[in-house]
Symmetry: C3
Subunit: 262 residues, 3 copies
């Protein structure tokens, strides 16, 4: 059996020693762990970014991987730390809802971390990633069962998917996520439109009309804002060889309108 995989997703940034410290703590407890960096550059405290990141990355992993997520604006307060089994995947996360989008039809199994014997001592008030999540992850990788970590939890913070709303002419939604290319990913499911052979007549972001509708970036001239189906099936607005975020001045939360009427 291959050595256990632990992935790390944090907002620690590129030059801070915090992710490195967590790696050291994990390897000190289980030197056989294979560490996989997902990102350490979630924008600081940005739970929505973390949630969208996780829902796009975690389902690609094998079920055996354990995902440690430290985007934790509530560190040191009464917020809980959780072991979560959801959608066939396992995470260690602060109770802030950033794993909600991974939920499927089966109810998640959630454990609240309370058993200090799996923690690092002393536990600081500002770095539970190093002092609690990392050592708990390492112990899980050694075969400790989640039931030993603390009591089952029945309630937790939820971050619901912001559902698009129907309008007279189509749908209204919002920009969910902006990737490093400046592509705008919306909350509007679009994969089925293409399968049905029907695409919107008009798409706008923040009131600015975009188009044409394309299958992939390279179908439009460089610099043109286009609408398409993103790699995760959502409506995306992009600019071939450019940044839609910059060209359209759009931020997360910008209103996206879709119309079937020309």
């Amino acid at each position: 059996m291959p050595d256990p995989i632990i992935t790390l997703t944090t907002d620690f940034g590129a030059a801070s020693p915090y992710a490195a410290a967590m790696k050291g703590v994990i390897l000190s407890i289980n030197p056989a762990v294979r560490l996989v960096d997902l990102t350490h550059q979630v924008p600081p405290q940005n739970l929505r970014h973390a949630a969208f990141f996780l829902v796009n990355a975690v389902p690609c992993f094998p079920r055996e991987a354990l995902h440690v997520v430290v985007v934790d604006p509530g560190v040191g307060t009464e917020r809980a730390l959780l072991h979560v089994e959801v959608g066939g995947h396992r995470l260690l996360v602060p109770d802030n809802g950033c794993w909600s989008l991974l939920a499927d039809d089966s109810p998640p199994r959630v454990t609240r971390l309370t058993q200090r014997r799996f923690w690092r001592e002393p536990v600081s008030d500002t770095f539970h990633g190093r002092d609690i999540l990392a050592p708990v992850a390492a112990h899980l990788s050694l075969g400790v069962g989640p039931a030993l970590l603390g009591p089952a939890a029945n309630d937790w913070v939820r971050m619901p998917w912001p559902e698009p709303a129907a309008t007279e002419e189509g749908l209204t939604g919002e920009v969910m996520f902006i990737d490093d290319f400046g592509n705008l990913i919306t909350n509007i499911p679009a994969a089925e439109w293409v399968q049905l052979g029907e695409v919107p007549a008009r798409v706008s972001v923040g009131g600015r009309s975009v188009g044409p509708w394309v299958r992939t970036y390279g179908e439009a001239p460089a610099g043109t804002p286009v609408a398409l189906v993103s790699s995760v099936g959502l409506l995306e607005v992009a600019v071939n060889h450019g940044s839609a975020a910059r060209l359209l001045g759009a931020a997360v939360g910008a209103v996206v309108e879709v119309s079937w009427r020309a």
Copy 2:
């Protein structure tokens, strides 16, 4: 035998979930793979940056490593995806020439990826890294032979090395690459000058004279632009404790002139 190594080189950026998704896909097919990040911060769609990056990094690796490169402005268009054996190394790349600089005297062996049984389904139009290159890489790491991936290719996109030209007084070339220190790496081979004991009397970048000629950064006072042989044997212009790109206002493509006459 050690577990197989797959490296990743992309322009996905630091905060996007795309590299993480590829890692998950690879580990889902072959959980024993050891992933090695080369970079995820090639500037967006910058094939020249990717080419220079690869020619400096890939030759250092053992031949067993498999290098997956996703800088792919043509994703979803008719451009092919390739398995390439070149210079004793193996890559999976879009057919955009970014591997050309690795060519040696032996002809490369190139396979066009067409066998969908090694792909992830459904294949999106905008993320072939996740849906084609990652699963193909994982299957190769399990022992699938390149011949099973598709037909041999006889033609592919080439990105030739921009050769410097002789002038009356010496050579003219260009800035090929700017590293994160702001050092300017040119396309002018310089290693032999030093071996022969002859260095140029004058070097200029974008018309601005630089110098003195040094062996290493620390030989010049901080803040002075200097000329030297880079760690890959090319003429480099640098600033000790500073950024030559910023000080000289130079970008990739800037004209570099070398003169043997004082």
Copy 3:
């Protein structure tokens, strides 16, 4: 026994091929090595940043890990390259003092790297990370003993911890490090204050008063500068959901004053 761990800490930046080249060199000599990135984004030539980074990260690692550090403003000059055993950890570093803060009560054991048979040939003048430290690290991971690398050294560059000074009302120190959140970590030990139940009446950075004193970020309203004990026991100034560096306009070296008098 798990495969050997080699960590990498550099100032090479995110888009340069230098870290990748080192990884390749290591794996070419010992393909079984498990590589762990600590950071490649130490600010260029910033030894103080590197020193603080290392003292926070390295002690978390198991003793078996080997830490390769390439922040090397003196590359190619007469500065030595060292194998250091300090505080129960092993490093390969240029002789620039960035490992000094790891010192404990036992004297470090330092070896000067002179045995070229463990180096890569030819050795460039500007990239000893690739040509000396990486191959030496790989050979160490194969079981080569440090005594084979060169002679023991009795003298080396030291970077002393800047001690805070007593004032009439308390202490004066400085900002040691700014993390990616913009938190200001000072050189003033603060953990014991809290254990003793006594916290300063006033804290200022660069003459600007900050407060209140909190146990963790979330105890203050968003946007308020607060003082607290950092995760490594030092006095820290932070802003809940914000950047103290930006809000206070503070840089490394800014004067920090602590007063017990209200």
